[in-house]
Symmetry: C2
Subunit: 327 residues, 2 copies
């Protein structure tokens, strides 16, 4: 089956903006606004929402209200509420706040892992193992996100063997329920995505695989369709296209949720998301973060949001038709 | 064969920036700069360049130097130099200036044709017939571009029958050598593109088919790959992502040439374009047009343009490794 026509096939979107987007913003989005946005996202039909991160408030002050946000949102039973946790303390806080899933992160690239997490990959992995143990004891799901799975902005290509080495340890040693392959700085390209996701699914067909793309070089949607063509059904995306990476200057944000939904629904995929409601949520963002958003869809509108003809259109038509009359 | 891997298949890019891009700019790009840009594009390996438009200097003052530009550029025998002509007078001027091809334009949508060309579609077509006659007498190639082939910003969906009705008349009545289906305001989506281009190629396999996409809603590259998957090998693109449409406010420009080349070359398609040279040309544009460009690739660099690690990286690594030492 060609990937261009969705034929009603379901696609599940994980909205990462409240965590991955807000964490790089200099403005603090007020807690009640965060709660309101997440509630609206739940109503709009997102499958999963990465609500916040249980990190040190000193490291990421933008998410210092993690407990309050996770406790105050209205839980929709159809939505998985996930939270990023960097360590056992974070895991305990997230579980205490009734996160449905813990999202753990490390990088496939040594340089990126050291720069971002200040640990070697082995040190990060032993931390993940401890967190996975805590989650397991509380029967909370674990997803592990592998940054730089399609390339590192400092090292360049990351060998696929290295990527799969870490996936294997996530799944077979840490017992992860899901793995997210992250294109942290927009280096992924469609043939690479198709090849790697096919290999992943062949090897671990029962693991929930999510793909996380950035639109840094304009390849986000093409990468998503390449992944769908290889059997992937789960994608991260960020409302308004929020997000970025401090280690790759000029890198733009995550693929934009409303653009992904708009395109996939037009193609006949079923995201179960109310696009108008979602766009309404994203429209609240510029005033909260204090800047314009990368989302092109918010600027241009949906493909059938029509424009008025020029004000003198009736006159133009009349004059054109008059040329056909016998003089 | 899957479209994700190009396997050396050739793709031909028509650079439309010097015409389609510059015509909507308020700044006049000096003639010698235009000539220098077009010469550099020729050297970079573009297959075709839409050099200018032979229109009234009052209507489009930005292109008032059409003759001079077409006469002063260095002709590369591997490059087709095409020019937009709206009428017989324009055709005569373009032929006099040794254009290799005339590009004629009308719209599949009545409202858009009236708004843009101030004629009914029948009136436009009879004009095109006259121009095609002039071109034929001089043995100059004719390409006809059909605007709004994937939707009209004022009318919405344009029936595919209407699109093919005009294609039929272009090919069978006007004898066009090539047809360009234009997604003038970024309304095309991949399943639509796949369906329409397959139908076109099945019906007119000998006509040179070009696709013209805008990235207004983030679907540009996905549409290109969908078209490739249906057998299309020719695409319009604009350096820096210049371009726009006055009848669809908020609509961004054409797909960006350097982004298209970057993505397709990574996938293994052969565009025969020197990407570094092309990016060098695009980098000259902001100072000439007086604003930032939509091109994300110019901001972020190619996927393997690497970034330095943080300044304290050696220290971070040392501290991390020290944690492994017995204390």
């Amino acid at each position: 089956m060609k990937p261009w026509s969705g034929d009603g096939r379901p696609i599940f979107i994980n909205e990462v903006g409240p965590r991955d987007g807000f964490q790089v913003e200099s403005a603090f989005v007020p807690t009640d606004e965060k709660v309101g946005l997440i509630n609206a996202l739940s109503e709009a039909g997102l499958s999963k929402i990465e609500v916040t991160a249980f990190v040190s408030p000193k490291a990421i002050p933008a998410l210092r209200d993690a407990e309050v946000v996770l406790n105050e949102i209205q839980r929709n039973p159809d939505v998985v509420y996930t939270a990023l946790v960097p360590n056992v303390r974070g895991a305990e806080r997230a579980i205490e706040s009734r996160a449905d899933e813990l999202n753990l992160v490390m990088s496939a690239s040594d340089s990126h892992n050291l720069s971002n997490l200040r640990m070697t990959r082995e040190q990060s992995f032993s931390g993940l193992m401890q967190v996975a143990g805590v989650a397991d004891a509380s029967e909370v799901r674990v997803n592990i996100s592998l940054s730089c799975a399609f390339g590192c902005p400092m090292e360049g290509d990351v060998p696929e063997d290295t990527v799969f080495h870490w996936c294997e340890r996530f799944i077979e040693e840490a017992g992860a329920n899901g793995v997210t392959l992250c294109d942290t700085t927009g280096m992924a390209y469609p043939s690479q995505v198709a090849r790697m996701t096919e290999a992943f699914i062949a090897r671990w067909p029962k693991t929930e695989l999510t793909l996380h793309f950035h639109n840094t070089r304009g390849m986000g949607l093409a990468n998503i369709i390449a992944a769908i063509d290889s059997g992937v059904t789960r994608f991260d995306a960020s409302f308004g296209g929020l997000g970025g990476c401090p280690y790759a200057p000029g890198a733009s944000g995550n693929v934009c949720t409303e653009e992904v939904v708009h395109a996939l629904e037009l193609m006949g995929y079923r995201t179960s998301i109310n696009l108008d409601a979602l766009m309404g949520v994203s429209r609240r963002l510029p005033s909260l973060v204090g800047h314009d958003l990368p989302s092109q869809l918010l600027k241009a509108g949906k493909r059938l949001d029509l424009h008025a003809p020029p004000p003198d259109f009736a006159e133009i038509r009349e004059r054109a038709l008059a040329r056909n009359m016998p003089s």
